[in-house]
């Protein structure tokens, strides 16, 4: 595949050719070219993914793809969009495109002319991206499989070596005690860079190595110097990346959006900010530099945080590797239809599994399915429609139930996070993101999650204790998420709201601290099997084939269109009036909202795009059953 190699391994050359052929800067031609090359799924899978390939196995300046969430947006960057190079030997002037690269490149014996007449300064946006927080392992694996089957072996390094390196990289991040191993890891890393970037003078790389080493040493000795990669959830791994986007994308990107970027990888060591030295090697203290913290945050070494110059970007509706990215494409509808043919069996299986998981409680299992496929589909002034936060009451304390349930969810949904709500966690963890003005970046918090990330809150571990100021703030923030689906980011001088879409499942013994849309008290069925036995039973029942079906099912039905036909609307309205007449105290506006949203979710979970009469009736029965369970709580519940 010589043609492929060219645009895959040396896209900058292709871009320069397009530039030369079209005479001047025509970014749309570049986009067109790559769009055409990548029109098929197969060619897409040729591109190595930054998510699953170790950085040193990728060629610098090659085409890569990256699945990530936009965590922060840095200031726009001005760069030389077009520049002249002068050949030192004969003085001929060449025009070069500066797009999609960090370093103004020129051939040997040439010099970049800063004051060239045809030079053009342009600007591009800089984004700080992190791997999708809470992404479950199966998603990572499946994406990797989709890709790796056809990936072109890029580096000469063996897999074993790459594995080791990556682990050690992780260790640098979380800073374990083994200094020696880690240092060698860093060394290996730079050495590899030498291998793959022969164009760089060796001298530079040596200084690079030297420079990196003290850095890593300090990172172990003093925790504040760990390069904080700013992941929303601690303990996550994966590549953080500084992504640079060009005109065609500006203003379409929002914080917390999930994207698949395809672009040129840039790992030039000179991108790392280091103390500028003049020709004699003396350090020039630049008093006007914005400060060390900011430079560390904004210009981390590219071996740790690579740069990606985006040519094509896909905003991802979902992150499910089992479904095609675009659901409303022809391919997408085919897959969706295929899933819908088996929807009933899949659903039955899922109910059975959830029933087992929830102590044999069928009603709770039904509610659970509805919760799993809920998402905010629309916002009316301040109301987020479609959210369905669930509070499972009557969970046993001091049991493994929350963990086991969470494990099950991890196997089925694409992104999830488990939050044990201990007093200590509330007091110490940062929930809402906060702007750090010293480093000029947004410090992430665990509530900075992409749309559709399930948050499982375990309230059973809560014990008596005192919440400090931070704890109160965190609890309020979580309450606002549950209630309004938005997070207030703290910008010190002011707060800014960011809408979010985080389905919250709260496991509690009694009534939760947070006001949920729906409370379901668990009623355990008499059963001799212990919790562990039940879950091991579930594990056996969940064959890989069934798992695949369930995974695809959950996301496919979630994203289906839904309508309320007129006839049913009238029935609903009649019912409301009727119910109000019978018992006004138990049919408030909020109750009605729950009914309507439940009807939507139940209908979708059965694969029906239209609400049918019988589902409406079923919803009413479900709700009345649920409410019968509530009375013992109702004195305090204010329903």
């Amino acid at each position: 595949m010589p043609g492929v190699d060219n645009w895959l391994n040396d896209p900058l050359n292709v871009i320069q050719n397009i530039f030369d052929n079209s005479g001047y800067d025509h970014p749309e031609k570049v986009t067109e070219y790559f769009k055409e090359k990548l029109s098929s799924q197969i060619s897409l899978s040729w591109i190595p993914s930054l998510n699953s390939t170790a950085l040193h196995n990728l060629n610098p300046n090659s085409l890569v793809k990256l699945r990530c969430m936009v965590q922060d947006m840095y200031d726009p960057e001005f760069y030389m969009g077009v520049y002249e190079t002068v050949d030192k030997t004969n003085g001929t002037v060449h025009l070069k495109s500066g797009r999609y690269q960090d370093v103004a490149d020129c051939s040997p014996n040439c010099e970049v002319d800063f004051n060239g007449k045809q030079n053009k300064t342009m600007d591009r946006q800089t984004l700080y991206c992190v791997p999708i927080p809470g992404e479950n392992t199966w998603v990572k694996m499946a994406h990797e499989e989709n890709n790796q089957a056809k990936v072109i072996a890029s580096g000469s390094t063996s897999a074993g070596r790459s594995k080791r390196h990556r682990d050690e990289d992780m260790m640098t991040e979380i800073s374990t005690s083994n200094v020696n191993a880690m240092q060698s890891g860093v060394h290996v890393g730079t050495h590899n860079e030498d291998d793959i970037s022969p164009r760089d003078e060796t001298g530079d790389n040596n200084t690079e190595t030297k420079r990196q080493r003290p850095d890593s040493e300090t990172s172990t000795s003093c925790s504040s110097h760990i390069p904080n990669l700013n992941f929303p959830l601690s303990g996550e791994t994966g590549p953080a990346c500084i992504v640079k986007i060009y005109e065609n994308l500006e203003n379409k990107v929002m914080v917390n959006d999930v994207f698949e970027f395809i672009g040129v990888l840039s790992v030039d060591p000179s991108m790392a900010q280091f103390k500028a030295t003049d020709s004699d090697g003396n350090t020039l203290l630049d008093p006007f530099s914005p400060g060390m913290e900011e430079e560390n945050a904004h210009c981390p070494p590219p071996s740790l945080v690579p740069r990606l110059h985006v040519i094509l970007a896909n905003k991802l509706q979902h992150n499910n590797p089992l479904l095609p990215t675009a659901l409303n494409s022809y391919e997408g509808t085919l897959v969706q239809e295929r899933i819908l043919t088996e929807v009933n069996t899949t659903r039955r299986n899922l109910v059975a599994i959830l029933e087992q998981a929830l102590f044999g409680d069928t009603l709770a299992a039904e509610y659970m399915i509805c919760h799993l496929i809920s998402f905010v589909y629309c916002r009316r002034d301040v109301v987020a429609l479609g959210k369905f936060s669930l509070n499972l009451m009557g969970c046993p304390t001091k049991s493994e139930f929350p963990q086991l349930l969470n494990k099950l969810l991890q196997h089925t949904v694409t992104q999830s996070h488990f939050l044990p709500m201990t007093v200590n966690n509330l007091n110490t963890i940062q929930f809402a993101p906060k702007k750090d003005y010293t480093a000029n970046r947004l410090l992430s918090g665990i509530l900075q999650l992409s749309c559709g990330t399930h948050l499982v809150v375990d309230e059973t571990v809560m014990e008596a204790g005192e919440l400090n100021a931070n704890g109160v703030k965190n609890l309020t923030a979580l309450g606002i998420v549950v209630r309004w689906q938005k997070v207030e980011y703290d910008f010190n001088f002011h707060k800014q709201e960011f809408p979010c879409d985080i389905p919250v499942l709260i496991l509690s013994e009694g009534k939760s601290l947070l006001q949920c849309d729906c409370m379901v008290p668990l009623i355990p069925c008499q059963s001799d099997a212990s919790l562990a036995e039940k879950y091991s039973g579930i594990d056996q029942y969940l064959t890989p084939a069934l798992l695949t079906k369930i995974r695809a099912y959950l996301d496919a039905v979630r994203l289906m269109e839904y309508t309320l036909p007129d006839s049913v609307q009238r029935v609903i309205e009649e019912d409301f009036v009727e119910m109000r007449r019978q018992d006004p105290a138990h049919m408030t506006i909020d109750d009605f909202h729950v009914l309507l949203i439940l009807a939507r979710l139940l209908s979708l979970s059965h694969g029906h795009k239209e609400l049918k009469r019988d589902f409406w009736d079923k919803v009413k029965i479900m709700e009345s059953e649920r409410k019968i369970r509530l009375p013992q709580h109702s004195a305090t519940l204010n329903i």
């Binding site: 370093v103 040997p108 004051n115 002034d381 109301v383 001088f493 800014q496």
Partner: protein, 845 residues
């Protein structure tokens, strides 16, 4: 590079380059052999005239995009004394000058604009020490270099000989003086003719009259019919602060061409303006000694108000951006002139900074020793510099994106003029410098660093601690375009504005029209009255509203909506907030280790609305602090040695559940709300939200709720006024309408009040106090504001109706004091029916 061998008399060294050039022997500082040849090369290398002409013709109206000149400050090995001339980055955008054909007739020279007192062209004024009258006392004013516009840079001009005198007159409008006859200096790379520019600006200063001056530009003793800036200059002469701020908008009105030049070539034009002003000033006030020469500070230029709109086109142009200061650096002393002394013979030398670098003289002329110079720090001269980070103000931020920041450099007098948290509008020159690349690398980083050199600050926010702030100064002044105002006024024409506006509040909430009306009036607020002179103090204009009702009646949703709607809203929950969270607390700043006052929600919502949810869950001590805020609109703080009074001119919108969380029909209103009288009386309106329990109502409610789930957003948008319109309308009305009570209205107020007293004395009712009369007045005022008119009788009636409606007084059985739900079953918009019921109730008295 100046002559290091010369005496430290700075003024001498700052004189015209051209005169020095010939007379001076190659100085030791520039002893590199290349210098003379470089110079001659440069003077030979006059650019192609044709190129310059096209430049002139084509680029008069638009900034030349080709001229994307970027400061190449640290270009690695190139940096040195020579490249200032060789690559001459800033203006000399033709580096190929060396190979251009030679043309006669044009001779180039450099004016050293580092001395703005080098007035005039080298030919006419060279050698004159002071403007106006050389040698007179006016010469006592020292010169200070303007680092904000980098006037230290040498500017090359092209002298257009008399032979071409006709040509440049094309672009001038009203130059009448004899400068036309003489040689004309055009600054290289621009179309700026120095003499014209100066002439035009002095005309502007001496002639411009603006009868409609903005308030913050006015000063004591201003006569709007006299030339504004001449008065300013007179003020300078008296006060002795040598700065002339001028509004670019004025210049734009006066001479659009000059304005364009200012925007496009600020670095060249501002020094020229300086010259003009100083000349004018010292002509008028020859005997005044100033700390230094007058510096011109333009502000309010039209270019780029929003930080997000900054793009490469703006580089080196004059821009105005607004934002919020988030960080200040400490003061950075920047060396302006280095003082060297020789180890061997103690011979001294001074070297001026040249584009961020100082070149140490290598050879001592006195004793001929190499590398014998040492820097003497305390004899060198420094200027102040400060780095400031400016962040996009929250209202400019697009939804879902994080704010941008930009770095500002403030120089000399502008250092420490702003504090973090200030909202400012900055006028300055946008700069870009390439990132310092590794000098040993062939490839260079292709990224630039950008910053703004501040020329002028304008603060948007007034000091919160200042109590004296009145309505004209407080808060942001909303700027609406005339078309927008026309549109807003046209809203009034379409009938039933009141209902439409009320319905626009939280359209997703069904009906509850009266509550929405109440909130609407709260947003408009009354008129602030000041009886301080008669000893009664100020009367608040803000209204407080309490919503009390059953759970599940969308109270929180209303609060959330209001919080989202108003520019300065705060949302707290009674449960999660403590007294300090609402008022203020003292913390220790980790950096400065000083005690810092952190303000809470009530202070932060000054001039806004503070929404307090779950008001009933709030503990009593927290609630008690509200007393002062809700009536005096201030907050007294005595903590950790900080004793002060903060403004909290906030409206409070609170929501509470009844005591038993469900409204108890068998209890009176007071028993159900159970809040202290003192607090209740401070609420202008108390709305009881009760479940009407009516089939017709339910049916409509069901329809409304279901429609939320299937209608698209566009459907609903047409029905209601959108949020932006509503917000602008309120802002406009608040700013421009200040209703007053008429005589007739006054009478009605009295009657209504008497009636209120009567009803209030009923059992279990909320009794009326004089405070309620005040609320009634406020409501009426707000209603008049809403109609964009002065007060009339109908406003009073509506105020009273709302007041009554709020408490459901209509449905109260006066004998028991309980609410009879059956009377409550009144549909929306049936006010007349309500009135009947009410009069029935009244009849029973």
């Amino acid at each position: 590079m100046s002559s290091p061998g010369s005496t430290p008399d700075s003024r001498r060294s700052k004189r015209g380059r051209s005169s020095e050039q010939g007379s001076e022997p190659p100085s030791p500082a520039s002893s590199k052999a290349a210098t003379p040849s470089q110079r001659s090369k440069r003077s030979d290398a006059t650019p192609r005239r044709s190129a310059r002409k096209t430049n002139k013709d084509g680029d008069v109206t638009s900034p030349p995009s080709q001229r994307r000149k970027v400061d190449d400050q640290p270009t690695g090995p190139l940096a040195g004394p020579l490249d200032a001339m060789v690559s001459s980055p800033i203006l000399f955008s033709s580096p190929g000058a060396a190979d251009t054909s030679k043309t006669g007739g044009l001779n180039t020279s450099e004016i050293d604009l580092s001395s703005p007192l080098h007035y005039g062209t080298p030919s006419s004024r060279a050698g004159l020490g002071t403007p106006g009258r050389p040698g007179t006392p006016g010469g006592g004013t020292p010169i200070r270099v303007r680092s904000d516009i980098r006037s230290t840079r040498k500017i090359r001009t092209v002298n257009l000989g008399t032979s071409e005198a006709g040509e440049p007159s094309r672009m001038t409008s009203e130059i009448t003086s004899d400068t036309l006859a003489g040689p004309q200096l055009v600054i290289w790379g621009t179309d700026v003719v120095v003499s014209h520019c100066r002439e035009k600006f002095s005309q502007f200063v001496s002639r411009f009259i603006d009868p409609e001056i903005e308030e913050d530009e006015a000063f004591d003793g201003i006569d709007v019919n006299e030339p504004l800036y001449l008065q300013r200059l007179d003020e300078v002469a008296i006060i002795g602060e040598p700065f002339l701020n001028f509004n670019c908008d004025h210049l734009h009105q006066f001479d659009a061409d000059l304005y364009r030049q200012l925007i496009n070539y600020p670095q060249e034009v501002i020094p020229t303006f300086d010259m003009a002003v100083n000349e004018l000033f010292f002509d008028r006030n020859p005997d005044v000694n100033l700390p230094h020469q007058i510096q011109v500070r333009p502000y309010n230029c039209e270019k780029t108000k929003n930080m997000r709109a900054l793009n490469p086109e703006d580089i080196d142009q004059l821009i105005t951006v607004r934002g919020m200061v988030i960080r200040n650096s400490t003061l950075i002393p920047e060396m302006r002139e280095a003082f060297f002394s020789c180890y061997v013979c103690h011979n001294t030398a001074t070297v001026e900074i040249d584009r961020g670098r100082i070149t140490e003289p290598t050879l001592c002329v006195n004793c001929n020793t190499n590398h014998s110079f040492a820097l003497v720090h305390n004899r060198s001269q420094f200027t102040d510099k400060q780095m400031i980070k400016l962040q996009e103000s929250p209202e400019d931020m697009p939804a879902g994106q994080t704010p941008h920041t930009v770095i500002l450099y403030a120089h000399s007098d502008l250092v420490d003029k702003v504090q973090p948290g200030d909202r400012i509008t900055v006028t300055g020159i946008y700069r870009a410098t390439p990132m310092r690349a590794n000098p040993r690398q062939r490839n260079v980083k292709s990224v630039y660093k950008t910053h703004i050199d501040v020329v002028h600050y304008r603060k948007v926010d007034t000091d919160r601690l200042k109590l004296e702030g009145d309505e004209a100064v407080d808060g942001r002044v909303v700027q609406l375009s005339p078309e927008r105002i026309e549109y807003l006024k046209s809203l009034k024409e379409s009938g039933d504005l009141y209902t439409r506006l009320a319905k626009a509040i939280a359209p997703s909430i069904y009906e509850n029209d009266d509550i929405k009306k109440g909130i609407l009036l709260q947003l408009f607020a009354g008129t602030r009255k000041d009886f301080a002179k008669s000893g009664r103090g100020k009367f608040r204009s803000e209204m407080n509203i309490l919503l009390c009702g059953d759970p599940g009646t969308s109270k929180s949703q209303l609060l959330q909506y209001v919080y989202k709607l108003v520019p300065r809203g705060q949302y707290t929950s009674g449960k999660g907030s403590s007294a300090v969270g609402l008022t203020a607390y003292v913390t220790k700043d980790p950096e400065t280790r000083q005690l810092v006052l952190q303000t809470g929600a009530l202070v932060l919502s000054d001039n806004g609305v503070c929404c307090i949810d779950e008001f009933d869950k709030m503990n009593d001590s927290t609630r008690s602090i509200l007393h002062e805020v809700m009536e005096q609109q201030t907050m007294s703080i005595a903590k950790a040695g900080i004793i002060c009074q903060l403004n909290a001119r906030t409206s409070i919108l609170a929501a509470a559940n009844p005591v038993e969380s469900q409204w108890n029909k068998n209890k009176t209103i007071i028993e159900n709300i159970q809040l202290p009288h003192t607090l209740l009386s401070r609420f202008d309106l108390i709305f009881l939200i009760l479940d009407p329990q009516d089939e017709v109502f339910d049916r409509r409610l069901a329809n409304h709720l279901v429609s939320l789930y299937y209608k698209t957003e566009r459907d609903t948008e047409d029905e209601y006024l959108n949020m932006a319109d509503l917000r602008d309308y309120i802002a406009y009305a608040k700013q421009n309408i200040h209703p007053k009570i008429s005589e007739a209205a006054g009478q009605t107020f009295i009657q209504e009040y008497v009636e209120m007293r009567k009803v209030g004395s009923g059992r279990g009712q909320i009794s009326a106090y004089p405070r309620q009369l005040e609320s009634l007045i406020r409501l009426a005022e707000a209603h008049a504001k809403m109609r964009l008119s002065e007060q009339e009788l109908e406003d009073v009636r509506e105020a009273r109706r709302l007041h009554r409606e709020a408490l459901k007084q209509a449905a109260v059985d006066p004998t028991t004091g309980k609410i009879d739900i059956s009377i409550l079953t009144t549909g929306p918009g049936e006010g007349s029916c309500n009135m009947c019921v009410y009069s029935c109730v009244c009849c029973q008295f």
